[in-house]
Amino acid sequence: MSEHINEWLPAYYDGELSGLKLRQAEAHLKECEACREKLNELQAISSILQESPAASGLTPADKFTAQVVLRLPRSQMQPGWQHTLQRGWQALPLGLFAGWAFIKSALIVTMGLAAVQRLGFGKSLDAAFQQISKADQIQAGGYRFTAAAFNRMGQYLVGSFNPGSLFGLDIFLKFVLPAAIGLAYLIWLMSWWRAQEVNDYKNGTV
């Protein structure tokens, strides 16, 4: 190996070479005076840097550690999944409210659709689309599809909502669902209250 190893010399000096590269560097250094001089320079720089005095007048080790321990906050950051879980638990009431609001809105829309279907509005809208020209039908394809879907959904709702099932749905929406949401909120409230008590105890405020 005749070329100088300038590029690999620092890595060789720092003990970062292995295998073939290490053997090549060693062989080259045996025969190359210039590279040996460069290696010497690296050693000289390290010696000079390491001879420069370390920080002086420091706090004794035990005192330093005691100072750090005294300043340690009571709480540590939770690992990612625990943090997410905790945040999710804290946001539970909001989730319950959102769920309740969604079910209520869905119910209102469903009842509205059923009422519209009973009045025959869906059928007449679908029939109106049957009467317009082919080109207009293609242009208004989206509307036609919507009208047809609206019609079928209404038919399904009217067909499936017999007085018996409506009564069951009514019971569920008026009693079971609010009771379940209320119970979940109560459990959350109790757990929050308990967590507050534990925190107060840990912080020494009780």
Binding site: P10, A11, G15, E16, A55, D62, P73, Q76, M77
Partner: protein, 191 residues
């Protein structure tokens, strides 16, 4: 299994796990183990012993808060040095890195009776050369020359590629050689 996991000290690993569960005594043991290294990293980067000690304290406080998130993909020492290096940089930026070179020489002269004047001046010149480096190169040089970290450990600590570690280290050494040319020549003759 990562390189860090292969060479991690089992006793230290146990202390880390205990500290992650909130054990303050275990964390105090970790502070004792790494105090010197953390102070040294901060001191060699910022050049002020008092500030380095403050930065080291803040480093350990931050480490305590974040230790539950620590995973042994990198050595614990590298993780601590990363925090220390970042805090030192923040500190230098907040102070706009106004290291007064003249004051440094004066401080060095008053540093203590144990060093002779020539040695003090040499020490001040070395410190001046190190502090004259750009922060990025200075960090790499400090971790390699003073803490003897491998290229991989430096890369883990500073979250940079190994190629960048090598180029920054080369740049730092070349700059030091230029700044301390006479000293390096004298040293070369004595080796």
């Amino acid at each position: 299994m990562t390189k860090a996991m292969q060479i991690s000290d089992p006793e230290e690993q146990q202390l880390i796990e205990q500290a992650q569960m909130g054990d303050r005594q275990a964390f105090a043991d970790l502070v004792n183990r790494h105090r010197k290294g953390v102070i040294n990293v901060a001191y060699r980067i910022c050049g002020d012993a008092g500030q380095a000690e403050d930065i080291a304290q803040e480093t350990f406080l931050r480490a305590w808060q974040h230790i539950p998130k620590y995973r042994p993909q990198a050595l614990f020492r590298s993780w601590l040095y990363r925090i220390a290096a970042n805090m030192t940089i923040d500190h230098l930026r907040s102070k706009k890195e106004t290291v007064n070179i003249e004051m440094l020489a004066l401080q060095s002269r008053d540093a203590g009776p144990e060093l002779r004047l020539v040695e003090k001046e040499r020490a001040a010149a070395v410190q001046q050369a190190v502090l004259g480096l750009p922060i990025a190169s200075r960090q790499v040089l400090v971790l390699r020359e003073y803490e003897q970290l491998s290229y991989q450990e430096i890369a883990d600590t500073l979250e940079i590629p190994i190629g960048t570690v090598m180029s920054r280290l080369n740049y730092a050494r070349k700059s030091i050689k230029l700044s301390l040319e006479r000293m390096v020549e004298e040293k070369c003759l004595s080796i």
